[in-house]
């Protein structure tokens, strides 16, 4: 069974541009999460989507946004890129939706490395 996939693997942008990152969850998973792993800042929660709705977001500015499609895949958009947005962006998916409980184990993809020049 295929795991979480992310594209592209690498993305190079310049300051002020927009970046779009994509994620396909494990088949049957309805929840998708985005995390940022920046040098020196560790893994920080960005966004959580479930059943097409944004359920929670971390302490990031509004220029970080996204959506979840009917097939549960997800897109992360970062507008007005800044140098400090350079990081590895990790997507994870889990089986349990909002109405479920307990075993919401998150499985991670390989990440997209975003470099802002």
């Amino acid at each position: 069974e295929a795991g979480v996939t992310q594209s592209p693997t690498h993305l190079i942008k310049t300051r002020g541009q927009q970046a779009t990152l994509r994620c396909s969850p494990i088949s049957g998973h309805t929840s998708v999460y985005w995390y940022q792993q920046a040098l020196g800042l560790g893994l920080q929660f960005l966004l959580w989507y479930d059943e097409g709705e944004e359920r929670n977001r971390g302490n990031f500015p509004p220029r970080f946004s996204g959506r979840q499609f009917p097939n549960y895949s997800s897109e992360l958009n970062v507008n007005a890129l800044e140098l400090e947005d350079s990081a590895l962006y990790l997507c994870a998916s889990s089986l349990v939706s909002l109405l479920g409980a307990g075993t919401d184990t998150q499985y991670f993809g390989p990440g997209t490395r975003l470099t802002v020049l």
């Binding site: 893994l43 359920r55 909002l98 479920g100 919401d104 184990t105 998150q106 499985y107 993809g109």
Partner: protein
């Protein structure tokens, strides 16, 4: 607010030696605890998880972890380390319903031959 502390930034062990990576958490209710491993430039791979029941949990690659509520700890252990275990290890806590994970800062493991 939930938090995770991994006090060891970097650990070096010899191949074949035993390993223990420390993790302390802060959480108001019953925690859901995880250990993930990350090889350089890669995503996170789940090693093991604790939700309830037996406080000693077994994971993949010969790893185990013990949940100690009284110490708010969830330390990761392996009796005999292999060179391929060199990676960064992250402890994380979740709330039990689908929501964010809070990660520790990670422990980088170096294995000497």
């Amino acid at each position: 607010a939930q938090s995770v502390t991994q006090p060891d930034i970097h650990i070096t062990v010899s191949e074949g030696a035993s390993l223990e990576l420390r993790c302390n958490y802060s959480y108001g209710a019953t925690p859901y605890l995880f250990w993930y491993v990350q090889s350089p430039g890669q995503g996170l791979q789940l090693l093991l998880k604790y939700f309830s029941g037996d406080t000693l949990v077994q994971g993949i690659k010969g790893f185990e972890a013990e949940f100690k509520r009284s110490q708010s700890s969830f330390n990761l252990r392996k009796p005999s380390v292999h060179w391929s275990d060199a990676a960064e290890y992250f402890c994380a806590v979740g709330s039990g319903t689908a929501s964010k994970l809070t990660f520790g800062t990670g422990t980088r493991l170096q294995v000497t031959l």
